[in-house]
C-alpha cells in the first residue's frame, strides 16, 4: 500500500496527483501536500507509559497492535467523567485528563469501564495545583531490602514507618489501555480546540459528526512476567536468524571513584580499609523516560559530587590511613539493581574492592527538603543486635556528629526510637555482611518529598528557581538557597568522610563549593546544554545534552546521559588536568608515570579560550570508573528471582499519538452504497452497450470490425 508520509512533493509528473496536491496548496493548508497531512495532526511531544515486567507481574500500559482510537473528551473536573463512563453516545472515548485529576480514585473508575475507554492523555498540571502526587508505592523496594518476614519481621513491609505515605501505586499498576503524557502546552491547546470545535453538542446533547478523535500507539511485545518474556527472547535468539527480542533487562552503569588510586587489575589487600560514600542516580515516574527526580536523586548525588570535590582538595589525602570510595548507584529505584550487582561482584571477586575491605558506609538519601536544620542519621536496628557492630555504628555516629559540629547550618541528629532503614543501597550491603553504616536524610519518618518519583519532582520541588530576565549563563552561576543548603550538607559529608578515613589535620579547611552545587543543579534540573557541562564532556558526548533537564530513568540502552554526565562531572571535579596530548590521553601506557590500572584518562572538550573562538581541550586524569549495573538475576538467568531485581522493559515498534476527525457511520455507508451502485450500474450499462454494439456503432467502411 502506498503511503504519502513525508513526501516532498507529489509523484512528479503524475497529473492526477498534481491535481490533488494543487487543491491542497491552493486551499492554503499548512504547506502540506500529502493526503495524510490533511487528515492527521501528529503529537510530537508526548511521553507514553510503557510496560515493565518483574518476576511476577507486568506493570504499565499498552495499546492494541494497530493503536487505540477514541473520540476525545476533555475531563477538567470529576463530573465530566459521567459523560465518558455512562452518558456519551459514541464510545470508546479517549480521555484528555487534567493532571490534577490523575489520581487513584479516578483511575480505578476508568479501569472499571475499559469497554468505554480507548485510552488516556494526561496533561501536565500547572505548578502547585496538585499538593502532592506520587505514583510510586507506599513502601518502595519492599522485599528486596534486608527486612523480611524471617529477618526483622517487625520492620518488614514498612510496618513501623510508611516511607512514601503519599504513594498511590499507580506506576506499579497494569493498565489495558494506553496512557500518554502531553508535555507541550501548545499541543494540548490544539487538541482542546479540536474538541471544542467538533465534540461539544449544543446544550449537552450528543454532538454531530465529524468528531475529533485521537489515536495512541504503544503496543508492547512482552507479557506476563520477566521469566516469560526472557524465555521467549532466549528461544528466539537461540533458534531464529532474525530474533525478535521481546524485552530487555533494565541495566546501566554505576559510577565509582576512589580518593586514593587503587590498582583495578587486581583486588585490594584484605587489610586495606575503605569508607564507602554512596547515593543513587536514578528515579522514575509513571511515564517512560520522564524522570526529573530532583529530590529523590539529583539533590543527593549533586551533594555527593560536591563532597567528593571538597574532599579531594584536602592537602593530605594521599597520607590518610583509609581510602574513600564514592559510589553512585544506578537503578536503585527498581529494587536496587546497581547496589545488588556491586555486592554480587564484590562477593565474587569481580570488583577490586571486597566486602571485607569496607570499613563503614555513609549513604545520602533525600537531602534537599530539610524543614529545619536537622539532617537525620538512619541506622539499621537489626545489625546492631551484634555488640561489635553496635559499637562501630556508635563510633560512626559520633564521628558524624563531631564533623557536623562546626557547621551550624546542619545539625546531625539521631532518631529518637529505633526504626528501620529507609529504602537505601546500604540495605543490600547489610544483606551480605554486617557493616556499620548510616543513611543521611532530610526526613525522620516518612519522606518530605510530596512528589516522590513523579513527573512533578522537578527543580521547583526543591525550590531551585532563578530570577527572571537572566541569561542562561547567569542562571548557571547564580547561587540559589538550595545550592547553599546542599553545599552545607556536602561540607559536613566531606568532613565526616575525612575523619572516617583517619584524617585529623585539615578538618576545618574542607569546604564544599556552593558554586559547584548550583552549577550541577542547574545542569541536571534546568538545562543540560550549558557551557560548563559542554566543557567537561568528551567531544562525542556533547549531543547527549539537551536544552531541557536530564532524565534519570535507568533505561535499557546504556550508559544513559545521566551516567555519562555524572561520570565526567566527577572526573573533572576530583581529577587532575594533565598536559598529555590527545594521543597520549587515549593510550597513556607509553607515557612514564601514567598507568591505566590506577587512573582513567579522558579527553574533554574544555572551556572556550578567552576570545571564544575555539575550545581548549585537555586530558583529565581521575579514578572515576563505570561498573556494570545489570541485576545478577540476569547474569544467573534466574528470571524469577526474589533475591535480585528482575525488572525488564518490554520492547515496542511504534510509539505515536495523533489527532484527526472521524466521519459518521452514515457517511461511510453512503459512500459505500454510492460506490456499489456505480459499480452495478456500470456493469449493467456496459453489458447492454456491448451486447448491442453492432446496432449502436455503425461502421460503414469496416463492417463487423468494431465490436464495442
Amino acid at each position: 500500500m502506498a503511503t504519502a508520509r513525508g513526501g516532498s512533493g507529489p509523484d512528479p509528473g503524475s497529473r492526477g496527483l498534481l491535481l490533488l496536491s494543487f487543491s491542497v496548496v491552493l486551499a492554503g493548508l499548512c504547506g502540506g501536500n500529502s493526503v495524510e497531512r490533511k487528515i492527521y495532526i501528529p503529537l510530537n511531544k508526548t511521553a507514553p507509559c510503557v510496560r515493565l515486567l518483574n518476576a511476577t507481574h507486568q506493570i504499565g500500559c499498552q495499546s492494541s497492535i494497530s493503536g487505540d482510537t477514541g473520540v476525545i473528551h476533555v475531563v477538567e473536573k470529576e463530573d465530566d467523567l459521567k459523560w465518558v463512563l455512562t452518558d456519551g453516545p459514541n464510545p470508546p472515548y479517549m480521555v484528555l485528563l487534567e493532571g490534577k485529576l490523575f489520581t487513584r480514585d479516578i483511575m480505578e473508575k476508568l479501569k472499571g469501564e475499559t469497554s468505554r475507554i480507548a485510552g488516556l492523555a494526561v496533561t501536565l498540571a500547572k505548578p502547585n495545583s496538585t499538593s502532592s502526587f506520587s505514583p510510586s508505592v507506599q513502601c518502595p523496594n519492599d522485599g528486596f531490602g534486608i527486612y523480611s518476614n524471617s529477618y526483622g519481621p517487625e520492620f518488614a513491609h514498612c510496618k513501623k514507618t510508611l516511607w512514601n505515605e503519599l504513594g498511590n501505586g499507580l506506576a506499579y499498576d497494569d493498565f489495558s489501555f494506553p496512557i500518554f503524557l502531553l508535555e507541550d502546552e501548545n499541543e494540548t491547546k490544539v487538541i482542546k480546540q479540536c474538541y471544542q470545535d467538533h465534540n461539544l453538542g449544543q446544550n449537552g446533547s450528543a454532538p454531530s459528526f465529524p468528531l475529533c478523535a485521537m489515536q495512541l500507539f504503544s503496543h508492547m511485545h512482552a507479557v506476563i512476567s520477566t521469566a516469560t518474556c526472557m524465555r521467549r527472547s532466549f528461544i528466539q535468539s537461540t533458534f531464529s536468524i532474525n530474533p525478535e527480542i521481546v524485552c530487555d533487562p533494565l541495566s546501566d552503569y554505576n559510577v565509582w571513584s576512589m580518593l586514593k588510586p587503587i590498582n583495578t587489575s587486581g583486588g585490594l589487600e584484605p587489610d586495606v580499609r575503605v569508607v564507602v560514600a554512596a547515593t543513587r542516580l536514578d528515579s522514575r515516574s509513571f511515564f517512560w523516560n520522564v524522570a526529573p527526580g530532583a529530590e529523590s536523586a539529583v539533590a543527593s548525588f549533586v551533594t555527593q559530587l560536591a563532597a567528593a570535590e571538597a574532599l579531594h582538595k584536602a592537602p593530605d589525602v594521599t597520607t590518610l590511613p583509609r581510602n574513600v570510595m564514592f559510589v553512585f548507584f544506578q537503578g536503585e529505584t527498581f529494587d536496587y539493581i546497581g547496589s545488588s550487582r556491586m555486592v554480587y561482584d564484590m562477593e565474587n571477586g569481580k570488583f577490586p574492592v571486597r566486602l571485607e575491605n569496607i570499613d563503614s558506609f555513609v549513604e545520602l538519601g533525600q537531602v534537599a527538603l530539610r524543614t529545619s536544620l536537622e539532617l537525620w542519621m538512619h541506622t539499621d536496628p537489626m545489625s546492631q543486635k551484634n555488640e561489635s557492630v553496635k559499637n562501630q555504628v556508635e563510633d560512626l555516629l559520633v564521628t558524624l556528629e563531631q564533623s557536623g559540629a562546626d557547621t551550624p547550618q546542619v545539625v546531625l541528629s539521631r532518631l529518637v526510637q529505633s526504626q528501620a532503614l529507609p529504602p537505601s543501597s546500604l540495605q543490600r550491603f547489610l544483606r551480605a555482611r554486617n557493616i556499620s553504616g548510616v543513611v543521611l536524610a532530610d526526613h525522620s519518618g516518612s519522606f518530605h518529598n510530596r512528589y516522590y518519583q513523579s513527573i512533578y519532582d522537578t527543580a521547583e520541588n526543591i525550590n531551585v528557581t532563578y530570577p527572571e530576565s537572566q541569561s542562561p549563563e547567569e542562571d548557571l552561576n547564580f547561587v540559589t538557597d538550595t545550592a547553599k543548603a546542599l553545599a552545607d550538607v556536602a561540607t559536613v559529608l566531606a568532613r565526616a568522610l575525612y575523619k572516617l578515613a583517619g584524617g585529623t589535620n585539615f578538618n576545618n579547611s574542607i569546604q564544599a563549593d556552593p558554586q559547584t552545587v548550583t552549577r550541577l543543579l542547574y545542569g541536571f534540573l534546568v538545562r543540560a546544554n550549558n557551557s560548563w557541562f559542554q566543557s567537561i564532556l568528551r567531544h562525542d558526548l556533547r549531543s547527549y545534552l539537551d536544552d531541557g533537564p536530564l532524565q534519570h530513568y535507568i533505561a535499557v540502552s546504556s550508559p544513559t546521559n545521566t551516567t555519562y554526565v555524572v561520570q565526567y562531572a566527577l572526573a573533572n571535579l576530583t581529577g587532575k588536568v594533565t598536559n598529555l596530548t590527545q594521543e597520549q590521553c587515549q593510550d597513556p601506557s607509553k607515557v612514564p608515570n601514567e598507568s591505566k590500572d590506577l587512573y582513567e584518562y579522558s579527553w574533554v572538550q574544555g572551556p572556550w579560550n578567552s576570545n571564544k573562538t575555539e575550545r581548549l581541550p585537555r586530558c583529565v586524569r581521575s579514578t572515576v570508573r563505570l561498573a556494570r549495573a545489570l541485576s545478577p538475576a540476569f547474569e544467573l538467568s534466574q528470571w524469577s528471582s526474589t533475591e535480585y531485581s528482575t525488572w525488564a522493559e518490554s520492547r515496542w515498534k511504534d510509539i505515536q499519538a495523533r489527532i484527526f476527525l472521524i466521519a459518521s457511520k452514515e457517511l461511510e455507508f453512503i459512500t459505500l452504497i454510492v460506490g456499489f451502485s456505480i459499480l452495478v450500474f456500470s456493469l449493467i450499462v456496459t453489458y447492454c452497450i456491448n451486447a448491442k454494439a453492432d446496432v449502436l456503432f455503425v461502421a460503414p467502411r469496416e463492417p463487423g470490425a468494431v465490436s464495442y
Binding site: 500500500m1 504519502a4 512533493g9 509523484d11 512528479p12 509528473g13 503524475s14 497529473r15 492526477g16 496527483l17 498534481l18 491535481l19 490533488l20 496536491s21 494543487f22 487543491s23 496548496v25 486551499a27 504547506g31 500529502s34 493526503v35 490533511k38 487528515i39 492527521y40 495532526i41 482510537t69 479540536c194 465529524p210 475529533c212 478523535a213 489515536q215 489527532i659 484527526f660 476527525l661 472521524i662 461511510e668 459512500t671 452504497i673 454510492v674 460506490g675 456499489f676 456505480i678 459499480l679 456500470s682 456493469l683 456496459t686 456491448n690 453492432d694 446496432v695 449502436l696 456503432f697 455503425v698 461502421a699 469496416e702 463492417p703 463487423g704 470490425a705 468494431v706 465490436s707 464495442y708
Partner: protein, 257 residues
C-alpha cells in the same frame, strides 16, 4: 472502521473501468495485451515527466513560496503534453503493428484502429487513475477522515469522482485522438490536447471541488458524445438501440462476431 469508505471510493473510481474491462477487454487476449501496452506507454510518459520535474526541481533549488506554485503549473502543462505525445507514439506503434500482424496472419482480420483507440484509451485511463488515486485510497482506510484543518469532509468522494472522470476522459480522448490521426486532421489532436490541458489546469484555479467536478463532467459528456459519433454511433442508431429495433437492422447488416 473506514473500510466502507475505502471500498466505496474504490468502486466509484474504478467501477466503470472494471466493467469495461470485464465485458469488452477480457474476452480477447489480444485486447488485454494492447490495454497493458497502453498502460505501459502512459507509465513511460510519467517517467519522462518525472525526470523533467526532478531536473527542474534541482535547478531551482527546491525553493518554496510562489516559485513552487509556478513550478507546479509548469509541471502540469509539461506532463499533459508528454502524455499526449506518448498517445501519438502509441498510435504510430499500433499502426505499424497492425500492418505487421496482417502480413504474418493474412486470414485473420486484425483489430480495427477504432477498437485499438478505445483499448489504448482505457489503458491510459486505468493507469493514470491508479497513479492519481491509490495514495488517497490508502488513506481512506482510516481511521481518520479529512477535515481537521477545515477541508471538505467529502474529500475522498470528490477524489473518487475526479478519478472516474479522468479515466472516462482518457477513453474518449483515445478514441477521438486516434480518429484524428487516421484522418490526418490535426485540429482534432489539438482539441484533445486543449481539453486535457483544460481539465488539468482548471483544478488549479479553484479550490472548490464542486466547480472542478462539474466542469470536468461537462467536458466528459461533450467528449463522450464526440467519441460516440466518431465510433460510428448516431442519433438514429441510439434510437434503434433504445427501442430495441435492432432485429430488422440485422437483416441487412450481418453480425460478424
Amino acid at each position: 472502521m473506514t473500510a466502507p469508505v475505502f471500498f466505496g471510493c474504490a468502486f466509484i473510481a474504478f467501477g466503470p473501468a472494471l466493467a469495461l474491462y470485464l465485458f469488452t477487454i477480457a474476452t480477447d487476449p489480444l485486447r488485454v495485451i494492447f490495454l497493458i501496452a497502453g498502460a505501459f506507454f502512459w507509465l513511460v510518459s510519467l517517467l519522462l515527466s518525472s525526470v523533467f520535474w526532478f531536473l527542474v526541481r534541482v535547478i531551482t533549488d527546491n525553493r518554496d513560496g510562489p516559485v513552487q506554485n509556478y513550478l507546479l503549473i509548469f509541471g502540469v502543462l509539461l506532463s499533459v503534453c508528454i502524455q499526449e505525445l506518448f498517445r501519438l507514439a502509441y498510435y504510430r506503434l499500433l499502426k505499424k503493428a497492425s500492418e505487421g500482424l496482417k502480413s504474418i496472419n493474412p486470414e485473420e482480420t486484425a483489430p480495427s484502429m477504432r477498437l485499438l483507440a478505445y483499448v489504448s484509451g482505457l489503458g491510459f485511463g486505468i493507469m493514470s487513475g491508479v497513479f492519481s488515486f491509490v495514495n488517497t485510497l490508502s488513506n481512506a482506510l482510516g481511521p481518520g477522515t479529512v477535515g481537521i484543518h477545515g477541508d471538505s469532509p467529502q474529500f475522498f468522494l470528490n477524489s473518487a469522482f475526479m478519478t472516474l472522470v479522468i479515466i472516462m476522459l482518457h477513453v474518449f480522448w483515445g478514441i477521438v485522438f486516434f480518429d484524428g490521426c487516421e484522418k490526418n486532421k490535426w485540429y482534432i489532436l489539438l482539441t484533445v490536447l486543449l481539453t486535457h490541458l483544460l481539465v488539468s489546469t482548471q483544478t488549479l484555479l479553484s479550490p472548490h471541488y464542486e466547480v472542478n467536478l462539474v466542469t470536468a463532467y461537462i467536458i466528459m459528456v461533450l467528449m463522450g458524445i464526440w467519441a460516440f459519433c466518431v465510433a460510428g454511433g448516431s442519433r438514429r442508431s441510439l434510437k434503434l438501440c433504445l427501442l430495441c429495433q435492432d432485429k430488422d437492422f440485422l437483416l441487412y447488416n450481418q453480425r460478424s462476431r
